[in-house]
């Protein structure tokens, strides 16, 4: 049995080495996306390259969610982080979920989170952003 095998929550989270996110960047216009693409919504180009997204950024919008989908612990903070010009959606983690600790414009960095292990012992790893102290 494999020891501490891991799988990312989403395919744009890379766990090898220092965890980071990757985007699909349109070769023609530079627009960035997460996930499988058919074409570029900005310029209609169909060629993409995989690029690393900076792991540090600035919190541009957030909410503190008290009523959520089944299986989600509340309250939690959902937000949009500007990672060097690429907008990323994620939760704000490793800080109390209240407006005294989470502020617009605060500097954050990518952090991984565990979603638990399945029956084969594989751990799913997600991501969030934590305040840069």
């Amino acid at each position: 049995m494999a020891v501490s095998e891991q799988v990312p929550l989403v395919d744009y989270l890379v766990l090898d080495g220092a965890p980071h996110l990757v985007a699909q960047e349109c070769v023609q216009c530079g627009a960035r996306y997460f996930g499988r693409r058919n074409a570029c919504a900005s310029c209609e180009g169909a060629e993409f390259r995989v690029v690393d997204v900076p792991v540090e950024g600035e919190l541009r919008a957030f909410t503190i969610v008290s009523f959520a989908a089944e299986g989600i612990d509340v309250p939690f903070v959902a937000g949009v982080v500007d990672c060097g010009g690429t907008s990323v959606r994620g939760n704000i983690v490793n800080t109390p979920p209240d407006p005294d600790h989470v502020r617009l414009g605060m500097k954050v960095r990518l952090a991984t989170t565990s979603l638990g292990t399945d029956t084969q012992g594989v751990e799913a790893v997600g991501f969030g952003f934590e305040p840069v102290s």
Binding site: V10, A41, A69, A78, N91, D118
Partner: protein, 398 residues
């Protein structure tokens, strides 16, 4: 140049709980009310635009089977919260295209007790299995940000605050305070209850900064409109002509690509585009509007749409609200119906119900909440996905 289109008849049911009525009952009440108001029959109608999102499907035909099967084309449309406006657009486009000269649009929803709508319907499996466009091994709502509407629109309001400053929990709560105060005068609203600022801020938090009264109310309801070509209107009675309301602009947009629009829905670009097109079509400006019904699905949304609809200078939404302009006695009354926060938001009905509100003021028939002398009004809806409908109505001589 295609010809002008007028609203000949329009009706909105009471919004609220209707446990004994199904979507067809409510739709029939709205449609027959609009036909009666228009002074015509189903047999006069040449096209039906029908909107209902959460019912069994085929709503338009089910409605015809109860109120009149005349063989006309039915367009069952779905465009999230802009579904009603889309149904109306279909009827208006058919008239402008010269396919018919009278159209009916109906929107209806049963939403009482629906609770929070979330996106986490995924069966639990024994092993992590990547699925979908991002190879997700678990449902993402709540794990990678939020898909819940109170949270999405909270971020939209917060993003505006980050960009321009001046927002606060209290500011957003005060927008809600205004709309609830307005609702007291609207007998068709789901809730006609005035809240103090303190009550709003101390109510149950749903998604900061939106507390429960700052969220649109789930309810049942329907609205319908009969639209007519100008040339046909000229053949109708003087009374029908007198009460007809001119549709000076009818616009539907989707969101153009912007850097972050696939990360957090961008409700700004498409609303700005729709507003600009509508003002151009109508030949009026925001300064001409006597009342505005805009899509306050959450208090945080209302703020950004002041700006998007050009009611204020770019970045000036906070000051605009603080000036008192958007209260019913202000210079640009917004959501005198009580808005979605108190009137309620039966999804597919909303984009016609807001037209009903504006038309009723232009006809001088809004009773206690009448905006005196109203001549021009604007109705706006947003459906996440995104779709935006903007209509400008005018009290005009034929």
């Amino acid at each position: 140049m295609s010809e002008n289109v007028w609203i000949l008849g329009i009706h909105m049911t009471k919004f609220g709980k209707h446990p004994t009525l199904d979507v067809v009952d409510l739709g029939a009440e709205a449609a027959r009310g609009a036909l009666r108001d228009a002074g015509i029959r189903m047999s006069d109608v040449g096209v039906l635009g029908a909107g209902n999102l959460r019912g069994p499907g085929g709503f338009g035909q089910a409605l015809q089977k109860q109120i009149g099967q005349t063989g006309i084309p039915v367009f069952n449309v779905a465009n999230a919260c802009a579904t009603g406006a889309t149904a109306l657009r279909v009827a208006i486009m058919a008239i402008k295209a010269g396919e018919t000269d009278i159209g009916l649009a109906v929107g209806v929803e049963k939403l009482s007790g629906a609770g929070l709508l979330t996106g986490n319907e995924r069966p639990k499996t024994d092993s992590w299995t990547p699925e979908g466009r991002v190879g997700a091994v678990a449902a993402l709502d709540g794990r990678v940000g939020t898909d819940t509407m109170p949270g999405v629109f909270a971020q939209i309001g917060m993003e505006y605050g980050h960009k321009y400053g001046g927002t606060s929990f209290e500011l957003f709560a005060r927008i809600s305070e205004k709309n609830h105060a307005h609702s007291v005068l609207n007998p068709l609203a789901t809730y006609q209850k005035k809240f103090t600022l303190e009550q709003i801020m101390n109510d149950v938090m749903i998604a900061y900064p939106n507390t429960r009264p700052m969220c649109s109310a789930n309810c049942d309801g329907a609205a319908a409109a009969v639209v007519v070509s100008e040339s046909r209107l000229r053949t109708l009675s003087l009374e029908q002509q007198r009460r007809a309301v001119k549709v000076s602009a009818s616009v539907l947009t989707s969101d153009p690509w912007s850097e972050s629009c696939q990360v957090l829905p961008d409700v700004n670009t498409l609303t700005r585009a729709a507003a600009d097109q509508a003002y151009e079509q109508a030949g009026v400006g925001p300064e001409d509007l006597d009342l505005v019904e805009l899509h306050d699905c959450f208090a945080t949304a209302e703020l950004v749409h002041y700006d998007n609809l050009r009611l204020c200078e770019p970045g000036g939404a906070v000051d605009f609200f603080e000036s008192g302009a958007t209260w019913r006695d202000g210079k640009r009354p917004v959501n005198v119906s009580g808005g979605l926060e108190s009137k309620g938001h039966p999804i597919a009905a909303t984009g016609i119900a807001n037209i009903w509100e504006v038309a009723t003021h232009l006809r001088g028939e809004a009773g206690e909440r009448q905006i005196e002398g109203a001549q021009v009004g604007l109705a706006h809806v947003i459906g996440i996905g995104n779709a935006c409908g903007v209509h400008i109505l005018e009290k005009a001589a034929l």
